[in-house]
């Protein structure tokens, strides 16, 4: 098995927690991503003014773009869930990107991270459905007529579980494959400038997978919010 060299593992080894850092690489690196996002947000959003300067401008473009993207699909009542959607997008995007830097590991290249994010989305979908429709949310699962209700209920349950699985495996597969291929190409030690096309593709894949995860979460929320068919 290839032994990777990670900066955070070295830092934790200096503190005496090397074994913990090696066993739970994805947890340690996701803490690092959280630290980056919190510190970045703190510094970029300090001193909010009416006419935005550089840092605030950058964040405003991102947040505004995401909000328009979301409201276009869910309608105006979806604005309350925008913080969760934006967090998902930024967390997944930054997590995917730090895997491209030598010495760091993408937390999303481990199935545990992606499964946890997918389960959060799944739980929030049902919370939204119950909040908007109350006890009548069950009508979403019963289908058009009452006679077919048991069969349609089973099929809908399987469909919902398949959503969790597809969200998590799609993100995990893409990022794990990217990391593996880039790891193998680094082994060529720069022959023919080998890693460069894969690194470029890696940036593209990181962004697109974050967008697709966010888009599917938005679509599931809007399905739970609308009237049953």
């Amino acid at each position: 098995m290839v032994h990777h060299y990670y900066f955070l593992n070295e830092i934790f080894s200096a503190l005496g927690l090397g074994h913990f850092a090696h066993k739970y690489q994805h947890v340690v690196h996701s803490w690092f991503v959280m630290l980056i996002m919190i510190i970045g947000a703190f510094f970029l959003a300090r001193g909010i003014q009416m006419f935005p300067r550089k840092g605030q401008n950058f964040l405003e473009i991102i947040v505004d773009g995401l909000e328009n993207f979301m409201v276009e699909i869910t309608g105006p009542e979806g604005r309350a869930f925008f913080p969760y959607i934006a967090t998902i997008f930024l967390y997944i995007f930054v997590s995917n990107l730090i895997g491209l830097i030598p010495g760091f590991f993408s937390p999303t290249a481990n199935y545990n991270t992606t499964l946890s994010i997918a389960i959060c989305t799944f739980v929030l979908t049902h919370v939204i459905g119950i909040k908007f429709h109350g006890a009548k949310y069950i009508k979403h699962f019963l289908g058009p007529s009452l006679a077919l209700a048991p069969l349609v209920f089973v099929i809908e349950m399987i469909g919902h579980l398949a959503r969790v699985m597809s969200l998590s495996i799609r993100l995990f597969g893409n990022i794990f494959g990217k990391e593996t291929i880039i790891g193998m190409l680094f082994g060529l030690a720069g022959l023919f400038l080998a890693p460069l096309p894969m690194l470029f593709l890696g940036v593209l894949v990181s962004f697109i997978q974050a967008v697709v995860f966010m888009l599917l979460s938005i679509v599931y929320f809007s399905i739970a919010m609308e009237e049953a068919h």
Binding site: S166, R170, G173, N174, G177, I208, V211, V212
Partner: protein
């Protein structure tokens, strides 16, 4: 080459190949292990190939639709391309599911060195 001769030659090759595998029998457990390793190796190779074949065709349809839509209405090009990229990511996920299964399977093939040495020794080389 006529169709009959292709079938004939390939069946001869297959029978000879399977005969050499059967000669490696050192006990029923070993023979069963040999067949399962054979099956795993073939499945992990062909599985991803078939999945990539279907994915390529599906993505071809998606890009075809996007290009035709852009050709009819060049101003909507940006929105069409955004939707095309999202569609491609969703189609590609199906190939990724198969890739994960194939990686899992190919990790289950044990180290073939000792087994190959045992086969060669049993044949008498």
């Amino acid at each position: 080459m006529s169709k009959k001769s292709v079938i004939g030659i390939s069946s001869v090759v297959l029978v000879l190949g399977m005969a050499s595998l059967a000669m490696a029998e050192e006990g029923s457990a070993q023979a069963a292990g040999m067949w399962s390793i054979f099956g795993i190796a073939i499945a992990s190779g062909f599985g991803i190939a078939i999945a990539a074949f279907g994915t390529g065709i599906g993505m071809g349809y998606a890009v075809n639709g996007a290009l035709q839509g852009t050709a009819r209405n060049p101003e909507a090009g940006g929105k069409i391309m955004t939707n095309m990229i999202i569609g491609l990511a969703l189609i590609e996920a199906l190939c990724i599911y198969t890739l994960l299964i194939c990686l899992l399977l190919s990790g289950k093939i044990p180290n073939m060195g000792p087994m190959v040495d045992a086969i060669v020794k049993s044949i008498g080389g």
